[in-house]
């Protein structure tokens, strides 16, 4: 169960906010500089699997929220019989020039996720060895997964302007 984990986190880290949901899901909100220490701590506590790194674009709050979803393979974080709970680590970033240190050192599997977020949300991960394009072929002025990316306008400008080659096509 995540109750003891929450107590430990609260006692060790001053700047985190924790919240325990009814289904034993622990949410940890941290400032961006504490992400790597918190992830490292959680890994030591048995959360040895980084499920994914995701990003939410809150336009009205004016921030991008990164979400690290952790769970446990070995079950050390969860005693036998307990539900296999997830730990969510959340951090807010400004929408202009968002950047934070990479977490590859803690979880090597974060590498493709961070490349993806760099490409689709424009989040810069400092210390990432290769932030090269992963899926996309071209440069976008606004990263395409942000809420202010106007897909219809983009499609009209880029694909709608390509003329048919032959009659009737």
């Amino acid at each position: 169960m995540n109750g003891p984990l929450r107590t430990k986190l609260d006692s060790i880290f001053r700047d985190v906010e924790t919240e325990l949901a009814d289904d034993d899901r622990l949410t940890v909100c941290v400032p961006k500089d504490s992400v790597v220490p918190v992830l490292s701590f959680l890994r030591g506590e048995g959360c040895d699997y980084l499920q994914l790194v995701s990003c939410v674009d809150w336009t009205e709050r004016g921030e991008l929220e990164l979400v690290y979803v952790l769970s446990s393979y070995t079950g050390e974080a969860n005693p036998p019989g307990a539900a296999r709970a997830n730990v969510l680590v959340k951090t807010g970033l400004p929408r202009t020039h968002p950047s934070l240190p990479t977490s590859i050192g803690v979880f090597p599997s974060a590498e493709p996720y961070e490349r993806e977020l760099h490409e689709l949300f424009g989040v810069r991960f400092e210390g990432h060895p290769r932030l090269t394009p992963l899926f996309l072929e071209r440069e976008y002025e606004v990263p395409p997964f942000r809420k202010d990316f106007d897909t219809r306008q983009y499609v009209e400008d880029h694909f709608g302007s390509i003329p048919p080659v032959e009659e009737g096509s």
Partner: protein, 185 residues
């Protein structure tokens, strides 16, 4: 062999041979490829119609574009199409290659496949049933009979326009033009 077609075989043997040995390049784009394994295996058995999947485009003459085409896939599609020996036939499978389908407002999916490579026929639907592939194949036979499946000829004559569209979608292409660029302008 159907005896009624003997006359056709003597009149145009190459055409008949093309009709009944359609080697489809096993190229998967999008979700439509999920219909292809049942089509080529025992349940529907495309070999009854002379359609066999081929591992390499150099041995193929039928290109099924099965589903949405992302910009990155378009690059692979053009390279594959240009490697296929002539005569070659292209069939767009599903609604996405026709006009974008459900990806009509996607930032990374091309909408009209026939603006980048020539297409001989379309199979509408999302997804089309395996039977639709056979209907398309029989239609393609008719087109080949009537010399209307001429996409590869149109590619030659309009190559400059096709290449221009490809470059607009993909940026600078890293391979040289397949045909001389001055033709068809």
């Amino acid at each position: 062999m159907d005896r009624n077609q003997l006359a056709k075989w003597f009149q145009a043997p190459t055409k008949m041979a093309h009709k009944y040995s359609l080697h489809a390049v096993y190229f998967c784009t999008g979700c439509g490829i999920i219909e292809v394994p049942p089509v080529i295996t025992a349940r529907w058995d495309a070999e009854r119609f002379g359609v066999i999947p081929t591992a390499t485009p150099r041995h193929a003459n039928l290109f099924l574009i099965t589903g949405y085409v992302s910009v990155k896939t378009l690059r692979a599609i053009i390279r594959t199409y240009e490697q296929m020996p002539e005569p070659k036939f292209t069939v767009g499978f599903g609604s996405c290659p026709i006009n974008g389908g459900m990806y009509w407002d996607s930032y990374n999916t091309i909408k009209h496949l026939d603006r980048y490579i020539p297409v001989d026929g379309w199979i509408a639907g999302c997804m089309p049933r395996p039977e639709a592939i056979f209907v398309a194949v029989t239609h393609l036979w008719t087109l080949i009979d009537k010399d209307m499946a001429d996409g590869y000829k149109r590619y030659r004559t309009n190559y400059a326009a096709y290449r221009a569209n490809q470059e607009r979608a993909l940026g600078e292409l890293e391979w040289p033009p397949l045909f001389p660029m001055e033709r068809g302008r």
